[in-house]
Assembly symmetry: C2
Homo-oligomer: 140 residues x 2
């Protein structure tokens, strides 16, 4: 079984810093496109491809958390200091999220991997719903 290659060397850059800085000040999970759009709106010079490439780097380095929405779109969120891996309940409409603590999920995934002899085990648990704010807006 080949050991996972360590990430390529990454370089600092304006765009990269801009993205990290932006994500640190943001709560919800956002799509690459949304992030690009919001950065442009803030006056950043930034190509879409760069956003994709940098987000890929940042996920690889563990700076950013990535999930897949029910529609198959990748969503990103800064997840640096507040501990390691955890899960969220996420609004399908606005992307607002709250962290969910649950150690049992981690254990369960590991146990299942061993029991069925799976290697390179990862897991994803995401809870999606519609937050109170968005619910109200919908009723109108």
């Amino acid at each position: 079984v080949p050991a996972p290659a360590q990430p390529k060397k990454k370089r600092n850059s304006r765009r990269r810093e801009r993205i990290v800085e932006f994500l640190q000040g943001i709560d919800p999970f956002l799509s690459s496109q949304a992030i690009h759009q919001m950065l442009k709106a803030r006056g950043a010079s930034m190509g879409l491809a760069t956003v994709y490439r940098q987000l890929e780097n940042l996920v690889e380095e563990g700076e950013v958390d990535s999930i897949i929405s029910p529609s198959g779109e990748k969503l990103f969120r800064h997840c640096g200091s507040d501990g390691g891996h955890h899960h969220h309940i996420i609004c399908k409409i606005c992307g607002a999220s709250q962290a969910i603590e649950d150690e049992e999920v981690e254990e369960m995934a590991e146990t299942a991997g061993k029991r069925y002899k799976y290697s390179e085990v990862s897991h994803s648990l995401e809870i999606f719903g519609i937050c109170e704010t968005c619910s109200r807006k919908r009723v109108r």
Copy 2:
């Protein structure tokens, strides 16, 4: 809050039966494209769009379970008789899967929804890895 509209009336058809029949005899989670390809290989007359449309129907009716792979692709599997909703550990390479029983996840999702006042709460928990068979093939 509008009540969820009941599914449209569905009609029996050769293609639909073919798909159900095929999925019932299959273990792993498969993509729409894979299912289409395998049905064609078995001599079925079947368009790709039909596979997409029927899988959509079947998921809506609860005949088929759908998940999203780490790459964002939708995967399907027959999930009719063996109880209701449950989770799986899935091979990233061949799609083989084993069911995982865990009631706590269900409770947790529900609790989190109530606590944070989210409506229309759903959740997804999937464990991905590489199964023993595929591990061996890789090493060669």
